[in-house]
């Protein structure tokens, strides 16, 4: 059978998924959490609690700060200690809500945790919900894209006027090396995920859905195929293993063979892409009436890997006892970002913690020999060496002509470069500048 994949570019880094097959461990709730108000793409949330307030597990502590934004809920009961700045993993200050629990709170939470799988809505109630109602539940539960990009889920489900969704694609590719949190979630909760996909289909008003899983996860494919066999319209599609298969544009092309137009939204192809962990969160929000308060992540330290279900706001250092490791990467090794400290709360987008010393150092940089490997690897059909140089020389106009704004920052170019040039580093700078200039022009044209 020919496996689906995207047409141009792509790389195949060593998979290194040593956490695959390790059951998800439910970590006990922490005694204190730090909840940054900016855990998603878009406007930061606005805190609705103040110092000294008592909160219960699942309470909303911050409201969405705009349409493209998401509310935040506390995973523990307790008292709001302060609303102050916390540091992002990269060290930048950001507003955050600090919550601490006491004995009574912890007892109440322990009680709530034992009942957490009990449905809050009956089958009939769920069947009676229309698309709008489901989107509202998703919105109020603070669900964002859990693949790492953290784009608020309800925004994607409400396509702009003039566009119509035809298919929901569930991104279960998990093409990043080392990570296996989605894999384990699919093996352990296939029924719940399929239910979540059904709800997403109803929310988007479509009757077809594809769950795209890379072929290196046969157990997950088997589990989901079985769970989905009884539901009409849901297809499980094994994919060829290739990075960046989980990129939204690449996945759409791989599954339905349509290309997202340059500068356009994915909905232009009629596809809505949601991560598999997002589908699971939708199940929890709709069926169990539970907002997004925890997520599964992979902890990988080179020799061992674990999959953990961790409450949002847990300080990462508590997950990794012992001394500070040589290098910390949050997310996968390809697109994850280096963190300078573990004294930082985990947020909705934290899909992995990599402490592998293999990734600790870059190879020394050499001169570009124009071999063209980056051009072959680029899944967007760009010329990374060229736009990187244009960006370094600050030739923003030419960089825009060369479609720097189309870069998805997957890092395939930097990965494949035999001269170890930091190609993506410079492209990111240029992309930021060019996008800002394009936005300014669009705003000026409107005014």
């Amino acid at each position: 059978m020919k496996l689906h994949t995207f047409k141009i570019g792509g790389v195949h880094p060593a998979e290194n998924k040593i956490a695959a097959g390790k059951p998800i461990e439910n970590l006990p709730l922490p005694e204190e959490v730090v909840l940054p108000v900016s855990q998603h793409i878009g406007a930061p949330a606005t805190p609705v609690v103040k110092k000294g307030d008592k909160v219960k597990r699942g309470d909303r502590v911050a409201d969405a700060g705009g349409f493209v934004s998401a509310p935040i809920h506390t995973p523990i009961s307790g008292t709001v200690v302060k609303i102050d700045t916390a540091r992002t993993p990269q060290g930048m200050p950001v507003q955050a809500i600090y919550i601490k629990s006491d004995e009574a709170d912890r007892a109440a939470d322990a009680e709530a945790m034992t009942n957490r799988e009990k449905p809050a809505r009956t089958e009939e109630e769920i069947a009676a919900l229309d698309g709008k109602a489901i989107i509202d539940i998703i919105k109020n539960a603070g669900i964002v894209g859990l693949g790492g990009a953290t784009f608020p889920a309800h925004v994607k489900l409400s396509p702009p006027p003039g566009s119509k969704a035809e298919i929901v694609i569930i991104n279960a590719a998990e093409c990043e090396p080392c990570l296996s949190c989605d894999d384990m979630l699919m093996r352990e909760n296939p029924r719940e995920i399929v239910k979540g996909v059904e709800l997403l289909m109803r929310a988007a008003g479509v009757n077809r859905s594809v769950i795209a899983i890379e072929n290196n996860k046969p157990e997950a494919i088997a589990a989901l195929s079985e769970a989905a066999s009884s539901v009409a319209g849901i297809e499980v599609m094994p994919m060829k293993v290739k990075y960046p298969q989980g990129g939204e544009k690449q996945l759409i092309e791989a599954v339905i063979g349509k290309e997202v137009p340059s500068g356009g939204l994915p909905i232009a192809t009629g596809a809505i892409v949601q991560n598999v962990a997002t589908a699971y969160a939708v199940y929890r929000a709709v069926v169990l009436d539970e907002p997004l308060m925890d997520r599964v992540l992979t902890l990988h330290d080179g020799e061992t890997g674990r999959n953990l279900r961790v409450a949002l706001g847990t300080i990462l250092a508590t997950l990794v006892p012992g001394k500070e490791p040589e290098k910390i990467i949050l997310g996968g090794p390809m697109m994850g970002r280096t963190a300078s400290t573990l004294q930082t709360p985990m947020i909705k987008g934290t899909s992995g913690i990599l402490l592998d010393s293999r990734y600790a150092h870059r190879r020394p940089m050499e001169n570009c020999i124009r071999c063209g490997k980056c051009t072959e690897a680029c899944p967007m059909g760009l010329e990374p060496f060229l736009i990187s140089t244009l960006s370094r020389l600050q030739d923003w106009d030419e960089a825009e002509q060369q479609k720097i704004a189309n870069c998805i920052e997957c890092g395939s170019c930097s990965y494949i470069c035999p001269a170890s040039r930091p190609i993506l580093d410079f492209i990111r700078i240029g992309k930021g500048k060019v996008m800002a200039a394009m936005r300014a022009r669009a705003a000026a044209a409107k005014a």
Partner: protein, 285 residues
């Protein structure tokens, strides 16, 4: 033999025809340019630094010649004397300007700021600033990769490897502002050079609250506003937990320097201070 003679004749003819065409074109399409543009350009430094806001020295020269008034046209690199000469050439009055110099508003040397991480990527401040706070925990301080040094067209910046901070070479800096534009953290400011180079400024850009700033860097301005209370000329304002000395109002009395608990206020080029000589300095300023 014959073939050599033929080639000489043919090539010679082509040369003559080409020269004739070029001559005609040059005469026919000659662009009449004001000779004063060349005169003005000759006075300018020719570094094309962009400090005047134009795309280069020639552009500035033609702007001067075409302008109705020289207000808003200054070459920071040449200073008032040259602007006066330019004014004489174009027949306009040039405004007096005080010379400016770049100051680095960060004093977070290696021993004052803890080092959290080690950066191995492309060694430029632009890349580093896009990734987070950089190697130290300060979200506003110098990143130490020297984008300002490579941006300076006058060679007036150098990196001090011991402190990890850039330094301005006073007699080379003309105040063109190329470094100000290059710094992604906006920690470089153009300020009046001051009489005999004497100037007072806050050498910190950290906007965190006092306690957090203290943790970040031992030399940080903590926004305590002691300096603002001490200042008798209303030159100091506190905004974003950061003190700012207005160089237009500052009388260089240096009272603020002594009260700063973190020594974040720097006074440079003052004669070695003796306690009773304080008033004297004020007079000269």
């Amino acid at each position: 033999m014959n073939i050599i003679v033929t080639s000489i004749i043919v090539l010679g003819l082509i040369g003559i025809i080409g020269a004739a065409v070029l001559y005609v074109v040059a005469k026919r399409f000659h662009v009449q340019e004001d000779p004063r543009i060349d005169q003005v350009e000759a006075l300018l430094p020719g570094a094309n630094c962009g400090g005047c806001g134009r795309s280069g020295c020639r552009d500035f020269a033609s702007a001067c010649v075409c302008a109705d008034t020289l207000d808003g046209l200054t070459c920071p690199a040449s200073g008032s004397a040259v602007m006066k000469q330019i004014g004489e050439i174009v027949g306009l009055a040039a405004a007096e300007t005080k010379p400016k110099i770049a100051v680095i508003k960060c004093n977070g040397t290696c021993d004052l700021r803890p080092r959290l991480a080690r950066f191995e990527g492309a060694p430029t401040c632009a890349v580093l600033s896009s990734l987070g706070t950089g190697e130290s925990p300060c979200p506003n301080g110098c990143l130490g990769c020297g984008d300002c040094v490579s941006a300076c067209p006058y060679g007036a910046m150098k990196m001090n490897l011991e402190t990890g901070l850039p330094e301005v070479i006073e007699d080379k800096c003309v105040g063109c502002g190329a470094c100000v534009k290059a710094c992604p953290r906006s920690i470089i400011e153009l300020r009046y050079k001051g009489p005999r180079g004497m100037r007072v400024y806050v050498a910190c850009s950290n906007k965190e609250k006092g306690a957090a700033a203290m943790k970040t860097c031992k030399a940080a301005c903590i926004g305590c506003s002691k300096c603002a209370k001490e200042c008798t000329h209303e030159a100091i304002t506190i905004a974003n937990n950061l003190s700012y000395i207005d160089y237009e109002k500052c009388k260089l009395c240096r009272k603020c320097v002594d009260v700063c608990p973190t020594h974040a206020i720097h006074a440079v080029n003052f004669p070695v201070k003796k306690a009773p000589a304080k008033e004297k300095v004020e007079e000269t300023a």
